[in-house]
Amino acid sequence: MRITNLMIVASLAISIITPFGSSLAIAQGYGNSVQGYAPNASLPRTYPSGNTHRLFGGDDPPGVVGAARLQRWGSVAGHFQAVSFRGPGTSQFSLPIDGVFQPPSDKPVYAGLLIGAVYRFKITSIPGYEGEELYPTVEIIDRTYPPESMAARFPIPINLDLDDLEDAMLGRLVTRVVYLEDPSTAVPLAETPESSRALDIPGSQDPLAVADVLGKPVAIVRLGSVAPPTAEALMPQFFLGYPPWMSVIVPESITYADPAAPNGSHVTDVPSDVSVETATVGDVPSVIP
């Protein structure tokens, strides 16, 4: 779903000039509303407003913002953040291992990605553009804090729609900054984990700054028309250093009869105490409920 709300954009254009300054506030995005979040007493809980200059933006090269996140408080180095990839229709995603893309899966891909690293992934079987391939990048710039054993259930969704893919195939650069929405300013729209709602902003604005106002930016996706180089020496550059990632095994859904439901209907649920044996293993790189 694409939302083009000029009024919202116009208001944001005014507000992002003076709010929390610098992209240091990106991951400190919970600046003034955190209860009990005091990892370092020397840091202010709120940041002064004014004509502050943002050190980082959405137009920075891949890896810059994530690397800056690693230098700040709240150590996230070495943390693998659960991420899910979804696309329109029959599109398929795959991640590389040692420079070789894995066989694409027609199911959503779940992976644990390092914060601060940039990953190249591959999109194929695009609806209406069969035979076309895209090689976007994703940069994880912050993490979430799910409860115990719930990280696979609440990954950061990288949900792309057909507009993103078409723009990329036309040679444009699409920058999507995924952010954790502030519930106090949430948009009253019914959504699902498959939703790919995006707020389109004009070229004069910084998507990272806008996302910082709306919530906490957690990932940056860049889609362009880059193709793999033919020269072997350029492969490390293309794969951005082969950062490691981890497979995420999602527990299977358990379907059982609900005696309280009428007509013996079935209920599908993933209980929190699901055992390890219920996890399905075999698909690469992930298993889908």
């Binding site: 993490r143 650069l173 699409v174 920058t175 995924v178 954790l180 707020l199 981890m246």
Partner: protein, 466 residues
């Protein structure tokens, strides 16, 4: 069966974490602690905040993993990780978590790193994030309940003002006629929602600057329909009506002071009550066990003064007859007149976490824990933006074991599928809903009948997570 167990466990856990809020007996500070979504740790919660008779269902499940068990395990080293693993050779891969501030993640009790390597992601030993406020992000939670500032107030005509988003309060009238507003506890569900900001940029062909296609210009007068102040002062409006307070014309007073030639100050002052004024019985009427020795001594001193040290007269060197007796205060009766009817309101959710699109069932339980009945009970809940009320999902009932009282057949416990379910009796209540400022609904229930001492009602409704 499995589903029931899970739900019951969640209910018990939620009640233990958040606690129910009963009026009075709690200071404002204690109530804030009890209703804080992130500061409530079950092990450290004050005892007086534990709900006593809130949940009608028994606690049958046990917590499988405790934080102590997790901390007693060995920390997982890097060797336990399987990066870029080939799943055909490694059936399951281990998920390594870094809790950020807390450092490395220990395995659960009895689980070494080797065994951790074979554990799947879903069952790995994550830190119990729910109870560690230092690694929580409130943006990942949907909270509902409590009473945010400004506090809710009752007005004439059953109207409640000050009910903002998230607020859940109950208004009631006691037998004495006083009107009270009591907030519930706050319920938080882990439900992060993500969105994107998209920017599309493209290169111009030929490296040429492309001119502007058009310029947006305002056409015609803007906001001509508004009555705005003029830019120049063209006239003056006379004062239509003036009101002034006229002071007194004159004042007579006799306040001539009497001259004092000399003021004598006391050289020494003694106040026998000074040592007693800190006693709770003296200034607040409360009898505490720790103060009983002081009270006993004080009572003894009074008796000694009044009996033993009575005035005696000596005549012709003959000692007077002295009455000697010992007397202690044997019992002390303190009469406490409690308040009138009081309502305890407690809000629960059947889930700890929910994805967008899932449904959450909320329970609001009100109980009359006072000493007299209450009437005009109005419960209102203003849902937050991300909660969408499921139409016709609300019901109001109370749980009572009326089957035995009416002589009905009560099934044996072993014949039941699961724990015995209390019988539900519908409670008559008027339900209304109206839109609130968060593009959601404010739900209001007004109980038709009064709640007598010990009676209660449960409100159940479902919300869909947006």
């Amino acid at each position: 069966m499995q589903r029931k167990l899970t739900k019951l466990w969640i209910l018990v856990a939620v009640s233990g974490v958040s606690g129910c809020v009963a009026p009075s007996r709690l200071t404002k500070h204690a109530m804030n602690e009890a209703t804080s979504p992130f500061a409530a740790e079950q092990a450290t919660a004050p005892q007086n905040l534990r709900p006593s008779a809130v949940l009608p269902r028994p606690a049958i499940a046990q917590v499988s993993h405790t934080e102590e068990q997790a901390l007693s395990g060995q920390p997982c080293g890097p060797e336990g990780m399987s990066l870029n693993a080939d799943l055909e050779s490694v059936p399951t891969v281990q998920w390594q978590s870094n809790p950020g501030i807390a450092g490395s993640v220990p395995c659960s009790a009895g689980c070494g790193c080797q065994s951790c390597g074979t554990k799947a992601f879903a069952d790995s030993a994550f830190p119990t994030a729910y109870f560690n406020p230092s690694i929580l992000d409130p943006n990942e939670f949907i909270c509902d309940g409590g009473d945010n500032e400004p506090a809710a107030r009752a007005r004439v005509g059953d109207q409640i003002i000050g009910v903002e988003l998230e607020d859940t309060v109950v208004r009631y009238t006691t037998d004495a006629g006083s009107v009270h507003v009591q907030p519930s506890n706050k319920v938080c569900v882990y439900s992060p929602r993500f969105a994107s900001v998209r920017k599309v940029t493209g290169a111009e062909s030929g490296d040429m600057a492309v001119g502007a296609v058009g310029v947006e210009r305002p056409l015609g007068p803007i906001n001509a329909q508004l009555n705005q102040p003029g830019l120049a002062v063209t006239g003056r409006d006379k004062l239509g009506r003036g009101s002034a307070v006229r002071g007194p014309d004159a004042m007579r007073a006799r306040d001539r002071g009497v001259p004092v030639e000399r003021v004598l100050h006391p050289e020494q002052a003694q106040d026998v009550l000074t040592v007693l004024e800190n006693l709770a019985l003296v200034h607040r009427g409360l009898l505490r066990d720790t103060e009983k020795p002081w009270l006993s001594n004080a009572a003894q001193a009074a008796i000694a003064w009044s009996v033993d040290a009575e005035v005696a007269v000596t005549v012709n060197d003959i000692a007077p007859v002295t009455l000697i007796r010992d007397q202690n205060a044997q019992e002390l009766f303190v009469y406490d007149f409690p308040d009138a009817g009081r309502l305890q309101i407690c809000k629960l959710a059947d889930k700890f976490d929910a994805l967008p699109g899932e449904e959450i069932t909320f329970f609001i339980r009100v109980d009359n824990v006072g000493d007299s009945s209450v009437r005009n009970v109005v419960i209102t809940d203003s849902l937050v933006t991300r909660l969408e009320y499921v139409t016709d999902s609300q019901k109001v009932y109370t749980d009572e074991s009326v089957a035995a009282e009416k002589g009905g057949a009560v099934p044996e416990p072993d014949q039941l599928d699961g724990p015995p379910q209390p019988q539900r009796i519908a409670v008559e209540a008027a339900f209304t809903s109206e839109a609130n400022e968060g593009q959601s609904l404010r739900l209001t229930w007004k109980l038709a009948k009064e709640l007598k001492v010990g009676e209660g009602a449960t409100i159940e409704f479902k919300c869909k997570v947006r």
